[in-house]
Symmetry: C2
């Protein structure tokens, strides 16, 4: 059982400080499963966690996985050996940059039957993030008909979260406007289902005016929240809702929310795992993702694959994330 | 037709710069009514608007009223001369510190039959603020059964908004914890229906721990948001919701919302009037207030009355608001 670990906080400029180690076969708790990881999705959060202090002496990153169950804990009833599953897991536990991963059965769901492991591994973290944003935060209806006429603006439509968020919003009846900056990202975002793509090199206000687009009911920021904070407030409908997944660099003026009675949320996919509340919600959302993939409604957002599992692969994957230019999702094929 | 106006921005320490004037009988627009104001509620927003730049050459404050319709515009069908009505109105138009007020029929509702004009005038602005916070922002259910088991913490439970918010939250099935600082405010808040009253002279966290109270699902801040910002974030449930009606003095760190995925809203009762969106919602909420008052579910929060309408009365009323110690609501009896 092989794993790629980091034993210290480091910047990529310091060189490749990832290490390959061998791990003994773990003892499962009663509600856990052991997964033979076939593919691990890469996310910006990997690079952020790499730069936060370590709790133990080695950290295994990777918070997206698809694989096959090879062992189940004594109380696990919904899954059996041989099941194909996908999951994001918890940032409080070892990730999927390893050949075999222990994960709580609460966090996993059966992978879409129609997808390869690589395509499935692209989806969990970004899908859960988008589902939480739409359903827990914006509280859109699960009935697409009731969302008709409402618009979401997704900032950075071609990123990992922006791509699947576009597909999910469309499937649930919203009108989707995304921002992009390049020809390739425009094409990709339209392929994800965006109704309208605007250019982030101009101000968002001027773009919305030019295309006579309505003030969005919801704005979902997946890039540089500080830069967009005031623009989002200017754009959103009165009593509208803004959510971000990107931490701020600066303090902000919350009084700007007042005149329109704006609601602002900071979505963080690991909140439920961190506070151990409603953790079955992960599974609930992943089941809907798998169902809609198999119905042909969602497609995988994977655009690139690195292999095999090695320190070089993980280092390269982190480099790709830190460029902040990636379209769709990068996946590491483990075996 | 008499009105109390301010012709300049001023601090109370500069003396009583309110002036009494006579106003000609106005021309109504087709969707307006003329109300003979019997009572005008006083709110902190009066003192805030007094200190913002004037648009015209004279400003009439007062954004709570109960009175009798004496004239209706040509398109008004829901109201007739002689109807008893109550309303908050719009901060974009002249207020209720006058004997006769022109107001859009969209903003008014029939006053509770069981209340005097003075008691009715205590309710509109604070009730609408609380309804918007609970239903538009927190999005609690209109079915009390569905809110059972959920808790709201109201900071400053004995203030104008805190008092009626307590009654409304209780009527809709929430458990209500309020903060107070004095024996009188504790008694008053319990009388409004608070399930538990905690002391704001201690930290809120220590109070909740001492009384073994659950982490609130919702926190409604009606006092000194800067002071409570970090405490509220520490207290609220993961994926919980905080709303305030009090502007910040300082910029704040929005990243503090991240680990729990907290939602933060700035409620402002005049947003709908200011942006002219969904303005009938005011009326919709006021109808529910009147119904629940007449059913004996809500009681007026009026605790004190000043009279007659004069520059001295309005000056004294502003002094009371600026002390920030007022329990319940202060009302000016106009005639």
């Amino acid at each position: 059982m092989k794993a790629i670990v980091s034993r210290q906080v480091f910047q990529l400029a310091e060189g490749n400080l990832f290490q390959e180690i061998n791990i003994d076969s773990p003892q499962l708790k009663e509600d856990e499963v052991l997964v033979k990881v076939h593919a691990s999705g890469v996310n910006p959060v990997d690079t952020k966690i790499r730069q936060t202090p370590l709790n133990g002496n080695a950290r295994i990153l990777g918070f997206d996985a698809a694989g096959e169950i090879v062992e189940v804990g004594s109380q696990v009833t919904d899954f059996k050996v041989g099941d194909r599953v996908f999951y994001s897991g918890s940032n409080q536990q070892s990730g999927s940059n390893q050949t075999h991963q222990v994960v709580s059965a609460h966090y996993i769901a059966h992978a879409p039957e129609s997808l390869s492991y690589e395509d499935a591994a692209a989806l969990p973290l970004t899908s859960i993030t988008a589902y939480e944003t739409f359903f827990d935060i914006f509280r859109i209806s699960t009935n697409p008909e009731e969302n008709k006429g409402k618009t979401v603006l997704i900032i950075n439509g071609a990123g990992g979260v922006g791509s699947i968020a576009t597909q999910i919003a469309k499937a649930y009846g919203l009108k989707v406007v995304t921002t992009v900056g390049r020809t390739e990202t425009k094409e990709w975002s339209l392929k994800q289902g965006a109704d309208k793509v605007i250019n982030h090199h101009n101000t968002l206000v001027s773009e919305l005016e030019q295309f006579e687009l309505p003030a969005p009911d919801y704005i979902f920021c997946t890039y540089d929240t500080d830069h967009y904070y005031e623009q989002m407030i200017e754009l959103v409908k009165p009593r509208g809702h803004i959510a971000t997944i990107v931490a701020f660099k600066e303090k902000q003026d919350l009084n700007l929310l007042k005149s329109k009675s704006i609601t602002f949320s900071h979505e963080f996919m690991f909140s439920r795992a961190l506070y151990q509340t409603e953790i079955d919600q992960y599974q609930y959302y992943l089941k809907d993702v798998a169902k809609k993939v198999d119905e042909g409604i969602y497609t995988s957002t994977r655009t690139q694959t690195l292999t095999p599992l090695s320190t070089e692969t993980i280092y390269n994957a982190h480099q790709e994330m830190e460029k902040q230019q990636f379209i769709g999702k990068l996946v590491v094929k483990i075996i």
